[in-house]
Amino acid sequence: MVYLTRRAEFSASHFYHNPKFSAEENQRIFGKCNNPNGHGHNYTLEVTVAGDVDARSGFVMDLKQLKDIMNREVIDVLDHRHLNKEIPEFRDSIPTTENLAIAIWKRLSGKLNGAKLHRVRVYETDDLYVDVYGEP
């Protein structure tokens, strides 16, 4: 088994706000991230697929295909978007890095031409990232 990781970047804005909470609770729980005017990040996405190396091609998966799928399913959808306002997953959930990584996992899962999705890693900043392995 070999693990192959491809990296991509996208930029998006968001803010954290739960309408079930009072204004004070939103401010206490989410702090600066509660600013209703939003703020943005340069996110880095790493997608890791796992598989045996094909004897003829020497590939776990064709990197060009992986890049195209990541662009189509994730980057084209999220890049230069407002996560709260434009991305359906965040209509009713908070666009934290945790939920973003889970949403990206679900967007990619089953779409990798048979390759096994092993990990989705999303960096919000250099000092904060979230990994998802599809564990229930």
């Binding site: 729980i29 702090g31 939920n99 250099d126 979230v130 998802v132 599809g134």
Partner: protein, 141 residues
């Protein structure tokens, strides 16, 4: 779906690698420059990974502000600008980064109660790093 959140912190500290169980000559042979009796220092980077299902109301494994506050109140006062050899944790063990990563795992695992502590990763320099997950196999992460 479970998410693993990793936060990076940094602190600077000095240490000297020297084992009382070895002779001076053996210490020099084992630890080389790191055995310098005057010690030396590093800018350590510490990654703490916590895991769990994000809370449906907040979207969070745990509030980052709480994890940062814990690091600020518990990690930093002990380790920032410290001499590791002087710390209680290293009274009976050499302050290698292997042992440091184990001690930092125990510090978070025993005292941070708001999420499951999965793993500690410590970079001593850009060229080396150490991971500890409470003795569990980490596997391809």
């Amino acid at each position: 779906m479970k998410a693993h959140l990793t936060r990076r912190y940094k602190f600077s500290a000095s240490h000297r690698l020297h084992s009382p169980q070895l002779s001076d000559e053996q210490n020099r042979a084992t630890y080389g420059k790191c055995n310098n009796p005057h010690g030396h220092g590093h800018n350590y980077k510490v990654e703490v990974t916590v895991s769990g299902e994000p809370n449906p109301e907040t979207g969070m494994v745990c509030n980052l502000a709480d994890l940062d506050a814990f690091a600020e109140q518990v990690l930093m006062p002990q380790f920032e600008l410290s001499n590791l050899n002087q710390l209680e944790a290293f009274r009976n063990q050499v302050p290698t980064t292997e042992n440091l990563s184990r001690e930092l795992f125990h510090l978070f695992d025993r005292q941070f109660r708001l999420a499951k502590v999965e793993r500690i990763r410590v970079e001593e320099t850009m060229m080396n790093s150490f991971e500890y997950a409470g003795g569990r196999e980490i596997g391809p992460r």
